[in-house]
Symmetry: C2
Subunit: 143 residues, 2 copies
Amino acid sequence: MFSRTCEHAIRAVIYVSCQSAKGKRCGIAEISVAVDAPESFTAKILQDLVKKGLMGSAKGPKGGFYLTQEMSECSMADVVRAIDGEHLFEGCALGLRQCSEKRPCPLHHEFKKIRSEIRTMLEHSRLGAFSDNLTNKIAFLKR
Amino acid sequence: MFSRTCEHAIRAVIYVSCQSAKGKRCGIAEISVAVDAPESFTAKILQDLVKKGLMGSAKGPKGGFYLTQEMSECSMADVVRAIDGEHLFEGCALGLRQCSEKRPCPLHHEFKKIRSEIRTMLEHSRLGAFSDNLTNKIAFLKR
DNA sequence: TTAATAAAGGAGTATTTTGTCTTTTATTAA
DNA sequence: TTAATAAAAGACAAAATACTCCTTTATTAA
């Protein structure tokens, strides 16, 4: 569904969002432990998210990663798009480059529904929406 | 969604099903052209499907691949399972190894629905069901 | 019974994805 | 202004996936 990189990204972003909600910045060391992802790889992924404006970062002591209020209103779909691109939302299930309504693959109509549900679901999930469940241990991030 | 290998597998199996419906066996050369997939790779993939009983094959002249009546009643889910394993149906969207109802990842409940729809859709798609649309050029397989 | 055909099997190569390591740059505070 | 901290950047390394090629085995039919 998502690339592994994207899985790491989503877990990290949720963790950071959760910490930001408590007014805390966090460093990669802390994040990578919290979401059980390789540290340097996580660093690279977050770098990417920062470049794409989905996360904030500050260098030096007291630095770290964070989400602004605005960022925490971004959707999961934005994160997925930033890392994996449009593929999940647009791509043909059978890999046909020019699969379309007019020239559909045999699974096109069935998958259309699924894809649109995935999209809708991800578009409606705000990054900030998961903090509470995490904080109250109703949801988990460790692999 | 599916691995590329699995995309090739599904396209090939649909093509073979379609030919079998017309009483024709087909060789890898023909299949790989029809579904626009690399020939030797397709050969390997079909080998796998044959081993797993989802397709039949015969060596020598007049040989080739085919689906029996019984095989054409298998589901797309069977093909996906044979190639990509259970992951699509079971795996956690965020890659948590022990994501479950009791210890869910933050997206667990949202994804549960999606996954079950994917499964249902694939379980209900019989391999034999696509021949007509292909034959009548209502659906296509070329990448 | 031999030649031709076609899949099976095995041992690779190539590409992409995942992940690491080291150096550089920016920020803070003593 | 210097030492410590922490992210950014860039160049690699490892692993997984995608794909190829060559040899072997089975089948058919002349």
